[in-house]
Protein backbone atom coordinates (compact mmCIF):
# COMPACT_ATOMS: atom_id res chain seq x y z
CA UNK A 1 0.00 0.00 0.00
CA UNK A 2 1.17 3.49 -0.81
CA UNK A 3 2.20 5.37 2.33
CA UNK A 4 2.43 9.06 2.94
CA UNK A 5 6.01 10.24 2.81
CA UNK A 6 6.92 12.09 5.95
CA UNK A 7 8.90 14.64 3.90
CA UNK A 8 5.81 15.66 2.00
CA UNK A 9 3.49 16.02 4.96
CA UNK A 10 6.06 17.60 7.27
CA UNK A 11 5.11 21.17 6.44
CA UNK A 12 1.51 20.49 7.32
CA UNK A 13 1.72 18.64 10.63
CA UNK A 14 1.33 21.96 12.41
CA UNK A 15 -1.76 22.76 10.37
CA UNK A 16 -3.28 19.36 11.13
CA UNK A 17 -2.71 19.79 14.86
CA UNK A 18 -4.05 23.34 14.89
CA UNK A 19 -7.15 22.12 13.06
CA UNK A 20 -8.15 20.11 16.12
CA UNK A 21 -7.11 22.80 18.58
CA UNK A 22 -9.30 25.34 16.75
CA UNK A 23 -12.24 23.39 18.18
CA UNK A 24 -11.11 22.86 21.77
CA UNK A 25 -8.00 22.20 23.87
CA UNK A 26 -6.71 18.67 23.57
CA UNK A 27 -3.82 16.39 24.59
CA UNK A 28 -1.22 14.37 22.73
CA UNK A 29 -2.86 11.01 22.37
CA UNK A 30 -6.29 12.39 21.62
CA UNK A 31 -4.90 14.43 18.74
CA UNK A 32 -2.96 11.46 17.43
CA UNK A 33 -6.12 9.32 17.56
CA UNK A 34 -8.19 12.00 15.88
CA UNK A 35 -5.67 12.35 13.06
CA UNK A 36 -5.83 8.62 12.49
CA UNK A 37 -9.63 8.61 12.48
CA UNK A 38 -10.01 11.73 10.35
CA UNK A 39 -7.57 10.40 7.74
CA UNK A 40 -9.31 7.03 7.77
CA UNK A 41 -6.13 5.30 8.97
CA UNK A 42 -4.13 6.73 6.05
CA UNK A 43 -1.93 8.90 8.23
CA UNK A 44 -0.46 7.79 11.56
CA UNK A 45 1.52 10.58 13.14
CA UNK A 46 4.60 9.41 15.03
CA UNK A 47 4.88 10.29 18.71
CA UNK A 48 8.15 12.16 18.24
CA UNK A 49 6.72 14.11 15.29
CA UNK A 50 3.72 15.11 17.34
CA UNK A 51 5.71 16.17 20.35
CA UNK A 52 8.24 18.06 18.22
CA UNK A 53 5.37 19.92 16.62
CA UNK A 54 3.98 20.83 20.06
CA UNK A 55 7.34 22.22 21.16
CA UNK A 56 7.75 24.19 17.95
CA UNK A 57 4.21 25.59 18.05
CA UNK A 58 4.60 26.55 21.68
CA UNK A 59 7.94 28.26 21.07
CA UNK A 60 6.36 30.26 18.26
CA UNK A 61 3.51 31.30 20.52
CA UNK A 62 0.83 29.51 18.48
CA UNK A 63 -0.26 27.29 21.34
CA UNK A 64 0.01 27.24 25.12
CA UNK A 65 -0.04 24.24 27.40
CA UNK A 66 -1.61 23.58 30.75
CA UNK A 67 -1.93 20.57 32.96
CA UNK A 68 -5.25 19.03 33.87
CA UNK A 69 -6.49 15.90 35.52
CA UNK A 70 -8.56 13.62 33.32
CA UNK A 71 -11.63 11.66 34.44
CA UNK A 72 -9.52 8.64 35.28
CA UNK A 73 -7.24 10.70 37.51
CA UNK A 74 -4.35 10.80 35.06
CA UNK A 75 -2.58 14.15 34.70
CA UNK A 76 -2.25 15.29 31.15
CA UNK A 77 -0.75 18.22 29.36
CA UNK A 78 -3.43 19.93 27.34
CA UNK A 79 -2.67 22.29 24.49
CA UNK A 80 -4.69 25.34 23.63
CA UNK A 81 -4.52 27.51 20.52
CA UNK A 82 -3.65 31.20 20.84
CA UNK A 83 -4.89 34.11 18.75
CA UNK A 84 -1.59 34.07 16.84
CA UNK A 85 -2.16 30.36 16.28
CA UNK A 86 -5.55 31.01 14.69
CA UNK A 87 -4.05 33.57 12.34
CA UNK A 88 -1.21 31.19 11.46
CA UNK A 89 -3.72 28.40 10.76
CA UNK A 90 -5.66 30.60 8.34
CA UNK A 91 -2.43 31.50 6.56
CA UNK A 92 -1.43 27.87 6.25
CA UNK A 93 -4.86 27.03 4.82
CA UNK A 94 -4.41 29.73 2.19
CA UNK A 95 -0.93 28.46 1.45
CA UNK A 96 -2.22 24.94 0.99
CA UNK A 97 -4.96 25.99 -1.41
CA UNK A 98 -2.34 27.66 -3.54
CA UNK A 99 0.06 24.70 -3.31
CA UNK A 100 -2.68 22.24 -4.15
CA UNK A 101 -3.78 24.34 -7.11
CA UNK A 102 -0.26 24.47 -8.49
CA UNK A 103 0.69 20.83 -7.94
CA UNK A 104 -2.62 19.58 -9.34
CA UNK A 105 -1.67 21.05 -12.68
CA UNK A 106 1.30 18.73 -12.93
CA UNK A 107 -0.45 15.54 -11.89
CA UNK A 108 -1.56 13.25 -14.67
CA UNK A 109 -2.74 9.67 -14.84
Amino acid sequence: MQEISSDVIRGYNDTIILFFLMEEPSYGYEISRNIKAMSENKYLIKETTLYSAFTRLEKNGYITSFSQEADNGKRRTYYQITEAGRVYYKEKCEEWRLTKDVIERFISD
Binding site: Y29, S32, K46, E47, T49, L50, Y51, S52, F54, T55
Partner: protein, 283 residues
Protein backbone atom coordinates in the same frame (compact mmCIF):
# COMPACT_ATOMS: atom_id res chain seq x y z
CA UNK B 1 4.39 -1.37 30.05
CA UNK B 2 7.79 -2.01 31.58
CA UNK B 3 9.23 -2.75 28.14
CA UNK B 4 7.97 0.55 26.82
CA UNK B 5 9.42 2.40 29.76
CA UNK B 6 12.80 0.80 29.18
CA UNK B 7 12.61 1.55 25.47
CA UNK B 8 11.98 5.21 26.22
CA UNK B 9 14.82 5.30 28.75
CA UNK B 10 17.17 3.88 26.16
CA UNK B 11 16.03 6.41 23.58
CA UNK B 12 16.72 9.26 25.97
CA UNK B 13 19.95 7.83 27.34
CA UNK B 14 22.12 9.99 25.10
CA UNK B 15 20.26 13.22 25.62
CA UNK B 16 21.40 15.67 28.26
CA UNK B 17 19.31 15.78 31.40
CA UNK B 18 17.51 19.10 31.13
CA UNK B 19 14.09 20.34 32.11
CA UNK B 20 13.10 20.20 28.43
CA UNK B 21 14.14 16.62 27.84
CA UNK B 22 12.47 15.50 31.05
CA UNK B 23 9.29 17.14 29.98
CA UNK B 24 9.57 15.55 26.54
CA UNK B 25 10.13 12.13 28.06
CA UNK B 26 7.22 12.46 30.40
CA UNK B 27 4.90 13.68 27.61
CA UNK B 28 5.95 10.91 25.24
CA UNK B 29 5.47 8.39 28.01
CA UNK B 30 2.01 9.71 28.68
CA UNK B 31 1.05 9.35 25.00
CA UNK B 32 2.47 5.84 24.82
CA UNK B 33 0.66 4.91 27.98
CA UNK B 34 -2.64 6.16 26.53
CA UNK B 35 -2.04 4.17 23.39
CA UNK B 36 -1.12 1.11 25.44
CA UNK B 37 -4.31 1.32 27.47
CA UNK B 38 -6.47 1.71 24.40
CA UNK B 39 -4.90 -1.19 22.52
CA UNK B 40 -5.12 -3.29 25.67
CA UNK B 41 -8.82 -2.46 25.97
CA UNK B 42 -9.27 -3.60 22.37
CA UNK B 43 -7.90 -6.98 23.43
CA UNK B 44 -4.60 -6.83 21.60
CA UNK B 45 -1.84 -9.14 22.87
CA UNK B 46 0.91 -7.61 24.99
CA UNK B 47 3.65 -8.31 22.45
CA UNK B 48 1.66 -6.83 19.59
CA UNK B 49 0.95 -3.72 21.64
CA UNK B 50 4.60 -3.16 22.45
CA UNK B 51 5.48 -3.75 18.79
CA UNK B 52 2.91 -1.24 17.57
CA UNK B 53 3.93 1.42 20.05
CA UNK B 54 7.61 1.10 19.25
CA UNK B 55 7.01 1.22 15.48
CA UNK B 56 4.86 4.29 15.82
CA UNK B 57 7.24 6.05 18.18
CA UNK B 58 9.22 7.73 15.44
CA UNK B 59 12.69 9.11 15.35
CA UNK B 60 14.57 10.52 18.30
CA UNK B 61 16.70 12.76 16.05
CA UNK B 62 13.58 14.65 15.07
CA UNK B 63 12.98 15.34 18.73
CA UNK B 64 16.56 16.46 19.28
CA UNK B 65 16.15 18.96 16.48
CA UNK B 66 13.05 20.48 17.98
CA UNK B 67 14.72 20.66 21.39
CA UNK B 68 17.74 22.34 19.77
CA UNK B 69 20.00 19.50 20.82
CA UNK B 70 20.87 18.16 17.39
CA UNK B 71 23.07 21.08 16.39
CA UNK B 72 25.06 21.19 19.56
CA UNK B 73 26.04 17.57 19.23
CA UNK B 74 27.54 17.99 15.80
CA UNK B 75 28.98 21.49 15.91
CA UNK B 76 30.78 21.50 19.23
CA UNK B 77 33.79 19.23 19.07
CA UNK B 78 34.91 19.88 22.63
CA UNK B 79 37.19 17.34 24.24
CA UNK B 80 35.35 17.35 27.54
CA UNK B 81 32.10 16.46 25.83
CA UNK B 82 32.39 12.64 26.11
CA UNK B 83 32.97 12.85 29.85
CA UNK B 84 29.86 14.93 30.27
CA UNK B 85 27.84 12.47 28.23
CA UNK B 86 28.75 9.63 30.56
CA UNK B 87 27.61 11.68 33.50
CA UNK B 88 24.31 12.57 31.90
CA UNK B 89 23.53 9.00 30.97
CA UNK B 90 23.60 8.08 34.62
CA UNK B 91 21.38 10.96 35.52
CA UNK B 92 18.85 10.46 32.79
CA UNK B 93 18.28 6.75 33.14
CA UNK B 94 17.73 6.97 36.89
CA UNK B 95 18.61 3.33 36.99
CA UNK B 96 21.85 3.80 38.90
CA UNK B 97 22.54 0.89 41.17
CA UNK B 98 20.85 1.09 44.54
CA UNK B 99 19.08 4.37 43.96
CA UNK B 100 15.61 4.22 45.41
CA UNK B 101 13.10 5.80 43.03
CA UNK B 102 9.82 7.10 44.40
CA UNK B 103 6.61 6.57 42.46
CA UNK B 104 3.71 9.02 42.43
CA UNK B 105 1.83 6.88 44.93
CA UNK B 106 4.75 6.83 47.34
CA UNK B 107 5.16 10.58 47.02
CA UNK B 108 1.46 10.98 47.75
CA UNK B 109 1.70 8.74 50.80
CA UNK B 110 4.67 10.69 52.07
CA UNK B 111 2.87 14.01 51.69
CA UNK B 112 -0.24 12.59 53.37
CA UNK B 113 1.72 11.19 56.33
CA UNK B 114 3.72 14.36 56.60
CA UNK B 115 0.73 16.64 56.63
CA UNK B 116 -1.15 14.40 59.05
CA UNK B 117 1.86 14.51 61.34
CA UNK B 118 2.02 18.29 61.13
CA UNK B 119 -1.72 18.49 61.70
CA UNK B 120 -1.48 16.38 64.89
CA UNK B 121 1.55 18.36 66.04
CA UNK B 122 -0.32 21.62 65.45
CA UNK B 123 -3.29 20.29 67.42
CA UNK B 124 -0.94 19.36 70.29
CA UNK B 125 0.53 22.85 70.35
CA UNK B 126 -2.99 24.29 70.23
CA UNK B 127 -3.99 22.37 73.37
CA UNK B 128 -0.83 23.46 75.20
CA UNK B 129 -1.50 27.11 74.39
CA UNK B 130 -5.17 26.72 75.24
CA UNK B 131 -4.52 25.23 78.70
CA UNK B 132 -4.21 28.50 80.71
CA UNK B 133 -7.64 29.53 79.42
CA UNK B 134 -9.15 27.08 81.94
CA UNK B 135 -7.87 28.70 85.14
CA UNK B 136 -8.30 32.20 83.72
CA UNK B 137 -11.92 31.61 82.84
CA UNK B 138 -13.08 29.57 85.81
CA UNK B 139 -11.20 31.27 88.63
CA UNK B 140 -12.72 34.59 87.62
CA UNK B 141 -16.08 33.46 88.91
CA UNK B 142 -14.65 33.37 92.42
CA UNK B 143 -13.66 37.04 92.11
CA UNK B 144 -17.03 38.02 90.76
CA UNK B 145 -19.43 36.06 92.91
CA UNK B 146 -17.27 35.63 96.01
CA UNK B 147 -15.95 32.40 97.42
CA UNK B 148 -18.53 29.67 97.83
CA UNK B 149 -18.74 25.94 97.20
CA UNK B 150 -19.81 26.36 93.59
CA UNK B 151 -17.17 28.92 92.58
CA UNK B 152 -14.50 26.89 94.37
CA UNK B 153 -15.55 23.89 92.37
CA UNK B 154 -15.31 25.95 89.19
CA UNK B 155 -11.80 27.15 90.11
CA UNK B 156 -10.53 23.66 90.63
CA UNK B 157 -12.27 22.59 87.44
CA UNK B 158 -10.24 25.31 85.67
CA UNK B 159 -6.98 23.97 87.08
CA UNK B 160 -8.03 20.47 86.11
CA UNK B 161 -8.66 21.74 82.60
CA UNK B 162 -5.11 23.14 82.51
CA UNK B 163 -3.53 19.80 83.31
CA UNK B 164 -5.84 17.81 81.10
CA UNK B 165 -5.23 20.14 78.17
CA UNK B 166 -1.45 20.01 78.60
CA UNK B 167 -1.62 16.23 78.84
CA UNK B 168 -3.64 15.99 75.61
CA UNK B 169 -1.29 18.46 73.93
CA UNK B 170 1.89 16.61 74.88
CA UNK B 171 0.28 13.31 73.94
CA UNK B 172 -0.59 14.61 70.48
CA UNK B 173 2.90 16.05 69.98
CA UNK B 174 4.43 12.68 70.83
CA UNK B 175 1.93 10.93 68.57
CA UNK B 176 2.80 13.21 65.66
CA UNK B 177 6.35 11.87 65.70
CA UNK B 178 5.21 8.31 65.08
CA UNK B 179 3.55 9.33 61.80
CA UNK B 180 6.93 10.23 60.39
CA UNK B 181 8.31 6.79 61.11
CA UNK B 182 8.93 4.72 58.04
CA UNK B 183 10.10 7.65 55.95
CA UNK B 184 13.57 8.00 57.47
CA UNK B 185 14.95 6.23 54.44
CA UNK B 186 14.43 9.45 52.48
CA UNK B 187 17.28 10.98 54.43
CA UNK B 188 19.38 7.88 54.89
CA UNK B 189 19.22 6.10 51.56
CA UNK B 190 20.02 7.46 48.18
CA UNK B 191 16.63 8.42 46.86
CA UNK B 192 15.25 10.20 43.84
CA UNK B 193 11.97 10.82 42.09
CA UNK B 194 10.80 9.14 38.93
CA UNK B 195 10.35 11.62 36.15
CA UNK B 196 6.55 11.43 36.25
CA UNK B 197 6.65 11.79 40.02
CA UNK B 198 8.76 14.90 39.74
CA UNK B 199 6.33 16.48 37.28
CA UNK B 200 3.45 15.57 39.54
CA UNK B 201 5.10 16.96 42.66
CA UNK B 202 5.97 20.22 40.90
CA UNK B 203 2.40 20.72 39.81
CA UNK B 204 1.00 19.94 43.24
CA UNK B 205 3.48 22.34 44.75
CA UNK B 206 2.31 25.12 42.48
CA UNK B 207 -1.31 24.44 43.29
CA UNK B 208 -0.74 24.38 47.02
CA UNK B 209 1.31 27.54 47.14
CA UNK B 210 -1.60 29.95 47.32
CA UNK B 211 -3.47 28.02 49.99
CA UNK B 212 -0.28 28.04 52.01
CA UNK B 213 -0.11 31.82 51.96
CA UNK B 214 -3.80 32.07 52.75
CA UNK B 215 -3.53 29.79 55.79
CA UNK B 216 -0.44 31.58 57.02
CA UNK B 217 -2.16 34.95 56.73
CA UNK B 218 -5.20 33.59 58.54
CA UNK B 219 -2.97 32.38 61.37
CA UNK B 220 -1.22 35.70 61.71
CA UNK B 221 -4.58 37.46 61.67
CA UNK B 222 -5.88 35.25 64.49
CA UNK B 223 -2.83 36.09 66.59
CA UNK B 224 -3.18 39.80 65.99
CA UNK B 225 -6.93 39.75 66.61
CA UNK B 226 -6.49 37.84 69.86
CA UNK B 227 -6.42 41.12 71.82
CA UNK B 228 -9.68 42.39 70.32
CA UNK B 229 -12.10 40.37 72.49
CA UNK B 230 -10.34 41.52 75.67
CA UNK B 231 -10.53 45.16 74.78
CA UNK B 232 -14.05 45.04 73.36
CA UNK B 233 -15.51 42.88 76.12
CA UNK B 234 -13.50 44.81 78.72
CA UNK B 235 -15.24 47.97 77.69
CA UNK B 236 -18.66 46.40 78.12
CA UNK B 237 -18.67 46.57 81.92
CA UNK B 238 -20.18 43.15 82.24
CA UNK B 239 -17.90 41.47 84.72
CA UNK B 240 -18.29 37.92 83.43
CA UNK B 241 -17.31 39.05 79.96
CA UNK B 242 -14.53 41.49 80.83
CA UNK B 243 -12.60 39.45 83.40
CA UNK B 244 -13.46 35.84 82.50
CA UNK B 245 -14.44 35.33 78.86
CA UNK B 246 -12.26 38.08 77.34
CA UNK B 247 -8.86 37.05 78.73
CA UNK B 248 -9.46 33.37 78.11
CA UNK B 249 -10.33 34.10 74.47
CA UNK B 250 -6.74 35.36 73.98
CA UNK B 251 -5.48 31.82 74.47
CA UNK B 252 -8.11 30.35 72.21
CA UNK B 253 -7.34 32.77 69.37
CA UNK B 254 -3.56 32.55 69.72
CA UNK B 255 -3.90 28.76 69.81
CA UNK B 256 -5.93 28.75 66.60
CA UNK B 257 -3.52 31.21 65.01
CA UNK B 258 -0.45 29.15 65.81
CA UNK B 259 -2.26 26.04 64.60
CA UNK B 260 -2.90 27.67 61.21
CA UNK B 261 0.65 29.00 60.93
CA UNK B 262 2.12 25.57 61.68
CA UNK B 263 -0.24 23.88 59.26
CA UNK B 264 0.15 26.37 56.44
CA UNK B 265 3.33 24.79 55.19
CA UNK B 266 2.50 21.17 55.88
CA UNK B 267 2.04 20.12 52.24
CA UNK B 268 4.40 22.56 50.60
CA UNK B 269 7.29 21.60 52.84
CA UNK B 270 6.70 17.93 52.03
CA UNK B 271 6.69 18.66 48.30
CA UNK B 272 9.84 20.72 48.59
CA UNK B 273 11.51 17.96 50.54
CA UNK B 274 10.65 15.50 47.76
CA UNK B 275 11.97 17.79 45.04
CA UNK B 276 15.19 18.32 46.95
CA UNK B 277 15.88 14.60 46.57
CA UNK B 278 16.44 15.06 42.87
CA UNK B 279 18.34 18.29 43.22
CA UNK B 280 21.08 16.83 45.40
CA UNK B 281 23.02 14.65 43.07
CA UNK B 282 24.30 11.53 44.79
CA UNK B 283 27.44 12.09 46.75
Amino acid sequence: METIKNYLETMFANLPDTEETRRAKSELFSMMEDKYNELKAQGMAENAIVGTIITEFGNIDELKESLDLGKRDTIVPVVSEPVQTVATIENVTYESEGKRMLTIDEANDYVMDNSLSTFIFGLGVFFCILSPAGPVLFSAFEDIFGSNAFTNFLSSFGVGFLFLSVAIGVGLILLSGTKRKGWEFLDQDNCGLEIETEQFVKKELEENNSSQHFMFALGVMCCICSVIPVSVLGAMRIKVLSSAVGPSLIFVLVGIGVFFILNSSRKVSAYEKLLSLNNNPEA
